[in-house]
């Protein structure tokens, strides 16, 4: 019985979450489409879509080839499913690793202070001032042959964890000066308690929104690298799709389905992720939620 009540509660929570705002609903739908494309439909590819010459060349979209074919004989639709999978994988890895490092260090620095804070900030500032893109380009030239998505994501994360540290720290600094922090520490709360029960509600919206926007950043970086021809070009990603399309002059030859497919997919998916992140942070912001509930009761 308890299990069922719990399940019901979760289901209701989920239902409330989904209907909370159009941002969340639309965002979730877009993300689901992307995820199903990348991790569901891609499993049913009749052959490895990366292989050259597996279809006739330069065919416009038709019932046989949903999104047409490329100049190197690939089916754009199946290639796209692989590309989405790899780009999402890279985005999640790049975002999660960087955010975890950044948030943990930022919390410690902001709360502990003293010599620990100084040391963390020293390393953080160094990471921030080291220009990301040149180093990323260098490292990718260096290991281009063995580059896979997880590795590229990790490299991106290791170069970009600096800013979250500063953000989280300055949030904590500001929170620490607020009254409820003094109240909590005077009433004998331990540091871990204060962080988990008092600060997390303030920081959580930022973390979840930032997780998603960093997925976007990682995807964008991979696209950029691909333009420079420095991603793993034999792999299917949204970036390499654009790279090969431009490389084979898809624009001049009028193969719009080849170049527009990845461009539209990128805009569509980053938009979906972005409005979802906005929706989540609105949902988690207690003030906005209270406001909504009050409006709902008035109606």
């Amino acid at each position: 019985m308890v299990v069922i009540t719990n399940l019901k509660r979760y289901a209701r929570f989920l239902w409330n979450f989904l209907r909370f705002s159009p941002n969340i609903t639309v965002g979730i739908v877009i993300c689901l489409v992307i995820l199903v494309m990348g991790f569901g439909i891609s499993l049913f590819a009749p052959y490895d879509p990366r292989r050259w010459g597996s279809t006739p060349r330069n065919l416009p979209p038709s019932s046989d080839y949903l999104l047409g074919t490329t100049s190197i004989g690939q089916d754009v639709f199946w290639f796209l499913t692989y590309a989405i999978r790899n780009s999402m994988l890279l985005g999640v890895v790049g975002s999660a690793i960087g955010l975890v490092i950044g948030t943990v260090l930022g919390l410690i620095a902001g709360y502990k202070g003293g010599i620990i804070e100084k040391f963390i900030l020293l390393i953080t500032d160094t990471i921030i001032v080291v220009p990301t893109l040149p180093i990323l380009i260098l490292v990718s030239t260096m290991i281009k042959k063995q580059l896979d998505m997880v590795m590229l994501g990790t490299i991106i994360a290791l170069l970009t964890w600096g800013l979250p540290v500063r953000n989280v720290r300055s949030m904590i600094l500001s929170l620490r000066e607020r009254e409820f922090s003094h109240v909590a520490s005077f009433s004998g709360f331990k540091m871990l308690n204060i962080i988990t029960s008092e600060y997390t509600p303030h920081v959580l919206p930022w973390i979840s929104a930032s997780f998603i926007s960093r997925i976007n950043m990682a995807i964008g970086m991979e696209v950029t690298l691909s333009i420079f021809g420095l991603s793993s070009l034999q792999e299917a990603t949204l970036g390499t799709m654009i790279y090969w399309a431009l490389n084979y002059q898809a624009l001049l030859k009028g193969l719009w389905w080849w170049i527009l497919t990845p461009v539209v997919t990128i805009i569509f998916s980053v938009l979906g992720l972005f409005i979802l992140s906005v929706g989540i942070s609105e949902f988690l912001n207690p003030r906005i939620r209270l406001h909504r509930i009050m409006i709902g009761e008035k109606k």
């Binding site: 202070g113 100084k118 900030l121 020293l122 500032d125 160094t126 921030i128 001032v129 080291v130 220009p131 990301t132 893109l133 040149p134 180093i135 380009i137 260098l138 490292v139 030239t141 260096m142 800013l163 500063r166 300055s170 600094l173 500001s174 000066e177 607020r178 926007s213 976007n216 995807i219 964008g220 696209v223 950029t224 333009i227 420079f228 654009i242 624009l251 461009v263 990128i266 805009i267 980053v270 938009l271 992720l273 972005f274 409005i275 906005v278 942070s281 912001n285 003030r287 406001h291």
Partner: protein
């Protein structure tokens, strides 16, 4: 005085350390890549089909290594590099020998700074002002429309935005040039012709930077303002019947500006490396473009010159920011 001793001096020490560690990291990473600039030049020589005596060749390699500061162990190279870099000498550019790396950089710098400085500032001002107002009146329809525009524009990767602009405004409707900074035959001067030509070429790159930047400043400012608006002191201000204008500018926007000021200083400092995609996409002869060329050619000296300047610029911006932080937000004290 306590603040000076306890906060400002240690902060400046950190600054020096950060610059030093940053430069060190950037010195060692390229040295572990397989891109060997000397070998690249030798290959270029031998590819031309001419026969070289192996002895003469190895002598050539030796003297080139010395010239490029690649002689001796890594530690020797590092110390020699630091000594010269301290005096502002980064050696000759390896790809455009014998022009010094610094003079190549100085030639590129004005292009980058003018383009990125102007577009960063314009995007910041416009984005924050409109974002602040749209946040304050967030229930109105026009505010929602503006929000929708920024929501589509902001998450789009910069490269995609640039590509779309080039596709639409320079291929489909050929109004603006898609590459270069001025037409051939026009020399930089204070003439009207030069200024017009410059603005004409800078328009697309600047527009792409402003659009993407605007999206970010608008959205972040709007969400901060929506949050600030629900703070008790603003509601109190509303209850006391303060004029809207004063409430908006002095109560809401001023208190929401703090993270935005943090953002703009970082954005300005990243002009050096941030310009890279823009300049490569639009073939704009600025610092990012030469940095890209340097990375591809394994031109260590030029690369280190640009990267060092970039590190110093970013670190200086954070330093200034940290020092003026308590002036902007009185809640944060020197500790």
């Amino acid at each position: 005085m306590g603040a000076l001793k306890e906060y400002i001096i240690p902060r400046i020490c950190t600054y020096v350390l950060v610059v030093f560690i940053g430069i060190t990291i950037c010195f060692f990473i390229p040295r572990f890549t397989p891109v060997d600039p000397v070998l690249a030049i030798i290959n270029r020589l031998t590819e031309s089909g001419q026969y070289y005596d192996p002895d003469a060749l190895s002598q050539l390699i030796d003297s080139m290594k010395e010239l490029y500061g690649l002689k001796g162990s890594l530690l020797d190279q590092y110390i020699a590099f630091l000594r010269r870099a301290f005096l502002g000498d980064f050696g000759p550019s390896l790809a455009n020998f014998p022009t010094p790396a610094v003079s190549i950089m100085n030639r590129a710098l004005p292009w980058t700074i003018s383009l990125l400085f102007v577009s960063t500032i314009v995007a910041w001002l416009v984005g924050n002002l409109i974002g602040g107002i749209a946040g304050y009146f967030s229930e109105r329809n026009w505010a929602k429309g503006l929000g929708a525009f920024a929501t589509v524009v902001y998450p789009t990767p910069y490269y995609i935005m640039a590509l779309l602009l080039i596709m639409s405004l320079s291929y489909a409707i050929p109004i603006f040039p898609s590459y270069g900074a001025i037409s051939i035959g026009i020399n930089p001067s204070l003439s009207l012709e030069f200024i017009l030509n410059y603005a004409y070429h800078a328009f697309l790159p600047a527009l792409s930077l402003i659009i993407v930047g605007y999206g970010w400043w608008f959205l972040s400012m709007r969400s901060i303002v929506i949050h600030t608006k629900s703070e008790e002191y603003v509601q109190f201000g509303e209850m006391t019947g303060l004029p809207r204008r004063k409430l908006l500018l002095r109560y809401v926007i001023r208190n929401s500006l703090l993270p935005q000021v943090t953002g703009v200083s970082v954005a300005l400092a990243s002009i050096f490396s941030g310009a890279m995609i823009t300049e490569v996409v639009f073939s704009y002869p600025g610092i990012g473009y030469i940095l890209y060329q340097a990375v591809i050619n394994g031109d260590f000296n030029l690369m280190m010159a640009v990267v060092t300047y970039s590190i110093i610029a970013t670190a200086t911006a954070t330093l200034i920011l940290d020092l003026i932080y308590p002036l902007i937000d009185p809640r944060i004290k020197y500790k």
